[in-house]
Amino acid sequence: MSVSVAPKPVETDGTESTEALRPHAEDAFAEELAALAAQDDRPRPARWKLSPWAVATYLLGGTLPDGTVITPKYVGPRRIVEVAVTTLATDRALLLLGVPGTAKTWVSEHLAAAVSGDSTLLVQGTAGTPEEAIRYGWNYAQLLANGPSRDALVPSPVMRAMAEGMTARVEELTRIPADVQDTLITILSEKTLPIPELGQEVQAVRGFNLIATANDRDRGVNDLSSALRRRFNTVVLPLPASVEAEVDIVSRRVDQIGRSLDLPAVPEGIDEIRRVVTVFRELRDGVTSDGRTKLKSPSGTLSTAEAISVVTSGLALAAHFGDGVLRPGDIAAGILGAVVRDPAADRVVWQEYLEAVVRERDGWTDFYRACREVSA
């Protein structure tokens, strides 16, 4: 899991600063892709650079017959990758769902890189994404000078992918306004993109497919219409499977962020990180880690990404206002903020959790007190 979340290429969460420094997947892992292609003797779908089996190997890692080691890109259930690759091979569009921090974008980029050798045919979804970003736009100078023609047309990444039989990517599909989302329906079902202004159309070439990522639990999302949803095979990327894996991801990421924010390194923080992860996991799963007590789940997503931000802000508190050691008091307020999104219902959930679980737990007394203090 560690590799899966670490770098985020183009995301909306403010990590663009690293983008320029970061090569595309097909460049960064060019050698592995080449080695796979060289040894891959299985049948490949039209215009695929690798066979489905090799694509799965590329994502999951392994050792090739000639000894080339393929690093795992995604550490998680094998099933997920197999279903995702198979979906692309059956020319159905793929929808990757998951809460923040589950490596959706990462997986989609590597899938595109392995299947088409190009992960840059990307539409980034935002609330302001216009229809032109998915269909086509116009070069207005050309349009005014020469009238409508193919030369005046500015193709979108999706249109290019259709014409060239490549894999297009749509990031954060649910952030795109519903009417714009629905322009995908024709593309996915008819596999054509009409251009009524020219009386023409672009027909998708074999090999075209589309990978969309979406976050289904955040607020402020535009749910997919069922017409659009039917055209996707959905794969839900799960949260890290174990506490250890999640603690690892959080501490690694916190370390990276901390360095970029010039926060002093905190030596003793791992206990508190474990605590944050435990609290998040327990509330998310609705059951304590020993599996003995059921809990209510709050309305927030409590994703790994949020755990990271809780710990980071705790670190900042400890560094600037405390004695530099991450203590329960530094994270209590952050946790409260992450858990209690709905002031009425979530507060009860949180209080119950405090009283029924935290209060009784060995070694959690300080944390309990700190939480009582901020909750009161």
Binding site: R79, E82, V83, T86, T234, R292, V348, A356, R359
Partner: protein, 852 residues
Amino acid sequence: MVGVTGMDRTGSGGPEAGVQVAGEGPAEGTDSVIASASASASASASVPAPAVRASGPLLLGVRHHGPGSARAVRAALDSARPRTVLIEGPPEADALVPLAGDEAMRPPVALLAHAVDEPGRSAFWPLAEFSPEWVAIRWAVEHHVPARFIDLPATHTLAWGKEDEGRLDAGGAEASGSPVDVRVDPLAVLAEVAGYDDPERWWEDVVEHRGVGDGDAFAPFLGLEEAMGALREAYGSGGHERDLVREAHMRLQVRAAQREFGDEVAVVCGAWHVPALRQKSTVAADKALLKGLAKVKADMTWVPWTHRRLARVSGYGAGIDSPGWYGHLFGAPDRPVERWLTKVAGLLRDEDRIVSSAHVIEAVRLAETLAAMRGRPLPGLSETTDAVRAVMCDGSDVPLALVHDRLVVGDVLGEVPRSAPAVPLQRDLDRIQRRLRIKPEALERELELDLRKENDAERSRLLHRLRLLRVEWGEPVASRGSTGTFRETWRLRWEPELSVRVAEAGVWGTTVYAAATAKAEGDAVAAQGLSDVTALAERCLLAELPDALPTVMRILADRAALDADVGHLAQALPALVRSQRYGDVRGTDIGALAEVAAGLAERVFVGLPPACASLDADAADEMRRHVDAVHGAVGMLGEAVDTGAAPGQDAPGNPAATPGHGDLRERWHGVLRVLSVRDRVPGVIRGRGVRLLLDDGEAAQDEAARLMGLALSPGTPPADAAAWIEGFVGGGSGGGMLLVHDERLLGLVDAWLTGVSAEAFTDVLPLLRRTFSAYEPGVRRTLGELVRRGPGERGGAGIGGSGIPGFAAEFDVGRADAVVPVVRLLLGLDQVETGGGADGGPGDNDLVGATG
């Protein structure tokens, strides 16, 4: 069936012939027969079927409950047409074989063996429609060929169970039947060799998905036998020591059958045993192995079974995860994947999910491509499940759980003809009825039970347990006269259909106790609301089912944790505490119960303050009742937890099985304090909170007066203030006396009332009337007199009550002393002295006489 006519004659004698016991014939010569059989193994791969039959018994090694095996067995039997079929299973069941042909018999069913004297000791051999053994039995019945069971008799296997208690119950059938066991799992070994991580999948690929070969019906068995032979060479008995004894018995039985039918004998047994049956061994050696086995008197019958019980997740599992899927594979004539996905789509449609045929098409494509990518010959369960998840369920596991529950496992319920022998549960019931001298009679009669008597207590438990099993023999009725918890009255009436109910309940267990326990646990898992589970807990205590309690308690704790309505929790709490008191009367261990109740109380504490905010009058009134109920419950609970704190640590799923509930009452007072000062809480609850605190001595009189002053200050809307008063002194709380005794409080009420404006007064009048009209007439009169006299005359807050009308200002010491002996007598402080009459004066006797 023309060719079978010759067999019909021999077939009719099947059941009786099957009873014959091993090794009664001469020993010589059988050795060579077995030896020749092993020679045939290599030959029969290419030689047509009759050759196999000619050279020895037809050994069909199967995987229990494998649909592929079942189909192969049917094909092999059809092509070989043996004159008898021998099946791995307890020989006592031979007499039950004809029942398998009965119209009313519908798999899944199980052969149940139980010790006659001890119905609780039992073993099951579950058979589903797709079990090769079942197919073999049905084939034999249809072709009028005798079918016999050749495994070690249950009389011995049950006795083994006696030796190692517990093993039998956990997996008796599995240990005695399945080749898959915990020690050496032959399939796992083979799968590993083949490079599979999952033995189930390997089996699917290698056996289940290979349709029966066109030409050779025996090929599947030969390959498997070879593999098992290699395994047996490597592992011997693989840690299943008792298998050697069982195999010796099977060998003897096969020899006996061969003497009777020649080589036209087919044997259907676990593939694991096939090499052992081929093995050369002398009759003497086999008999030696069987010598001196322990015995118990055993009885067999058919019982209905369910798919759920075939699945590994529940009790007597047969070791298969997906009986529904297997049943589908067995039943589907062709295109199993397409048919399966269509079935799934149908189920999802019934549950109002929009699933079109296009979905099914896409799911089939995905499943097939997945299988190709995973290098499997056909999509298996995992591929179809992945496809269903991605295409039909939007990637969610929630609808998938439904598919798993309804289709992959399935709801299929077996049926057994009426003529099947009685289930052990009925025997157990008969025995208990005899022992407790309580006869089933059709005539209705009433039965009074005094639970302090052992016999009566047991009768009560029996009736309660039967009620849990839906055998409504007795119906509890309200006791006449006494309302004590040690007395119960039942109306008894045994209807004929109750016997059917008992037979049905046989699925749950072999004794009344075990069945009731299993049923209670099942009910708890299926229960809808929190109150259902609480009621069930109560019934478990009444029926004294301590083994069911942990499950019920765990589910209760879970439900409580997830129930967001404080009202539900508050309602459940008193019932729980009540159950605890029943438990006390019956001497049950109620530690776990107290702990769960304490956990429930914690949740009420947390949830109550937010739930009390912004309520309308009716809701506030209801909430006040909840507060009262919780208060009473916490009071009793506090005692229980304080005194019996030790038990309950082992209750699984307990939210807080750690110490720390001792301060429950204190924490409740904290909650009440919060309630009594929070502005958004309705007046009636605030007043109630203050009152409860005052009664418990947690709030000083001064504090109460201050809060009352606040609540009744001119700024408060009159209606709210009146509600406060109702909460504080209303209801059945004896509030009137409080006002009588505390003049200051009365003064406050008086001052407020006189300050209420004329219009507002009309509004609050009904409330006030409701509050004060509930008082005793005496109290009302006293209050009236006090108010008329006015507050000025007696200042001070003394509780001394210096001037209650009709009483002197001071105590009359002489008259007070006269009462002391009676009080002592009532309290039992000096029985010896009064008994001796040493201290008691004549006045004493007079008084006792007067009160009597």
